[in-house]
């Protein structure tokens, strides 16, 4: 490392960083193309990048694939949405009423560490193999990060802000609405971001284990049976799932930054 780079690392501009990311992605694709075309990795296992990309493009016009993708998307959105609707109010309640928190703490501590995929067989026995199973499991898995982060955010609320509002005669509900909720919003968003990833894991896992009906995991399951002939199909579907994950993550990170503006202002940081 030269003295020049050590002393004052100047962060590259946004445009440069984006072009570097793009260059990195291109290089990654080129690497796959190369090892596949030269036979360094068996092309049956890793088809050339151009073929994967072409297949991924073709899948967007394939009604069967679209139906699979849509089913998964609905299960994911419903699971995450229900988890938000349940976990945020619950977190606000547990975080602001200590006695309820103390009473339920042991239950939460008991349920949270259960790995959600372990419930796949039980829930399948209870409600079959349809979309409800995926939604139920996605809700269960994504409940915890949202609940946990909501409660964590509430704990960090500035007591001074609460006191000043109380001194103006505001009641506990107004306090929740005007202080506690807005200032824990960034943490809630973080919880939702983590939950979105977990919900996707659960939907895909359940579909693969069940191996029936519709869904992107089912698509992969059948392509997996026909492998290596359909390796390109699997990787093209993986590409779409990964891009979807990146998109959701990016949207929620942006939401977090927005919700966090007050935080940066308070801490004197630049967002």
């Amino acid at each position: 490392m030269s003295a020049q780079t050590l002393a004052r690392p100047r962060p590259a501009s946004t445009a440069i960083r984006w072009s570097r990311r793009a260059a990195g992605a291109l290089a990654f694709a080129a690497l796959i193309e190369l090892v596949s075309r030269t036979g360094l990795v068996d092309p049956q296992f890793l088809p050339p990048a151009t073929e994967i990309l072409a297949r991924a493009a073709a899948l967007t016009a394939d009604p069967e694939f679209l139906a699979h993708a849509l089913t998964s998307l609905i299960a994911w959105a419903a699971g995450l949405g229900l988890a938000v609707v349940i976990a945020v109010p619950l977190g606000l309640l547990l975080g602001s009423v200590p006695i309820v928190d103390a009473a339920t703490r042991s239950v939460v501590e008991f349920l949270r560490p259960i790995p959600s995929v372990a419930l796949i067989p039980l829930v399948s026995l209870l409600i079959g193999t349809g979309t409800q199973v995926r939604i139920t499991l996605a809700v269960y898995a994504s409940l915890w990060p949202i609940l946990y982060n909501t409660m964590y955010g509430l704990r960090l609320v500035d007591p001074l802000a609460k006191e000043s509002l109380r001194s103006y005669g505001f009641g506990p509900l107004a306090m929740l609405r005007r202080v506690s909720f807005p200032s824990s919003a960034p943490f809630i968003t973080t919880g939702i971001r983590l939950a979105a990833a977990v919900a996707l894991i659960l939907v895909v896992s359940t579909e693969i284990v069940a191996g029936r009906g519709e869904g992107i995991g089912v698509f992969m399951f059948y392509a997996g049976i026909a492998v290596p002939a359909r390796m390109t199909d699997i990787l093209a579907a993986v590409l779409w799932v990964g891009l979807f994950g990146v998109l959701v993550n990016a949207v929620l990170v942006a939401a977090e930054r927005r919700a966090f503006r007050w935080h940066h202002a308070r801490m004197g940081e630049t967002p």
Binding site: S2, A3, Q4, L6, A7, R8
Partner: protein, 256 residues
């Protein structure tokens, strides 16, 4: 000891956002001297210090320490930064912080520990070796940073606004510590400050820089009776006179 020859530094290349921090700066410091450099804030003092320490490569001119052109940090040079909370390593105990640089000095573990203990003793922190930096006050942390530099036994010690982040009382204590250290160890000290009183009180010589791009606008010898004392020295007529002189030079060029 230290020769700065026609030094210039421009940040940001030659583009429209280029910032000329230093321009054609000449300065020489004799062996054993305690030189204070004052200048308006943002004038390029820190850039000068980083050039001497080899942390940045100046875009023009050169710096020589003991006759050698500086390309990387010279041997036997230590720096005390202003921001002690970020220059000490929070994951190491105070003694480990002080002993860390000695690994380059061919000392075994026991020797390093003894040297660290000795350095801590000389800054009045003999009992603090096992503590972690965050357990100490700001002034004490800066003492640790000074001890770390002393243990290294440098021939040239650079201090970048070392007392800029501590309260007034601590500041006076630390100024006296520098004077004490200086009389016990044979070393050349270059201390950068924006405090005019401090520069006159501590220095043998005060160099005043203009606002950016920095160059030397004044070079005064400080001839105050030793030992210096926070009360009597500061009311000495020469002190008052020098302080006014430095102030005029700093302001004169700061408000243009």
């Amino acid at each position: 000891m230290l020769e700065i020859d026609n030094l210039s530094h421009v940040y940001g290349g030659g583009g429209p956002n280029a910032h000329h921090a230093i321009e054609a700066l000449n300065l020489s410091v004799a062996e054993g001297e305690l030189l204070c450099i004052v200048g308006p804030s943002g004038c390029g003092k820190s850039t000068l210090l980083r050039s001497i320490a080899g942390l940045i490569t100046p875009t023009g001119g050169q710096v020589k320490v003991e006759g050698q052109v500086v390309r990387q940090t010279p041997d036997n040079l230590a720096v005390v930064f202003q921001d002690y909370s970020r220059s000490l390593f929070p994951w190491m105990s105070v003694a480990d912080n002080v002993a860390l640089p000695l690994r380059r000095k061919n000392m075994d573990k026991r020797q390093r520990r003894e040297a660290a203990h000795e350095a801590l003793e000389s800054v009045g922190l003999s009992g603090a070796g096992r503590k972690y930096p965050f357990q100490l006050s700001g002034g004490m942390q800066q003492r640790v940073a000074i001890a770390r530099a002393l243990a290294y036994r440098p021939t040239l010690m650079l201090m970048d606004e070392p007392f800029g982040s501590v309260d007034a009382q601590t500041r006076e204590d630390l100024e006296d510590l520098v004077l004490k250290v200086r009389s016990h160890h044979q070393m050349t000290i270059v201390l950068i400050t924006h405090d005019i009183d401090e520069s006159v009180y501590v220095g043998d010589r005060v160099v005043i820089l203009s606002k950016a791009p920095a160059h030397v606008v004044g070079d005064l010898k400080v001839d105050l009776p030793a030992p210096r004392d926070q009360i009597t020295t500061r009311e000495h007529p020469d002190f008052v006179h020098l302080r006014a002189e430095v102030g005029r030079l700093v302001r004169g060029h700061a408000t243009v």
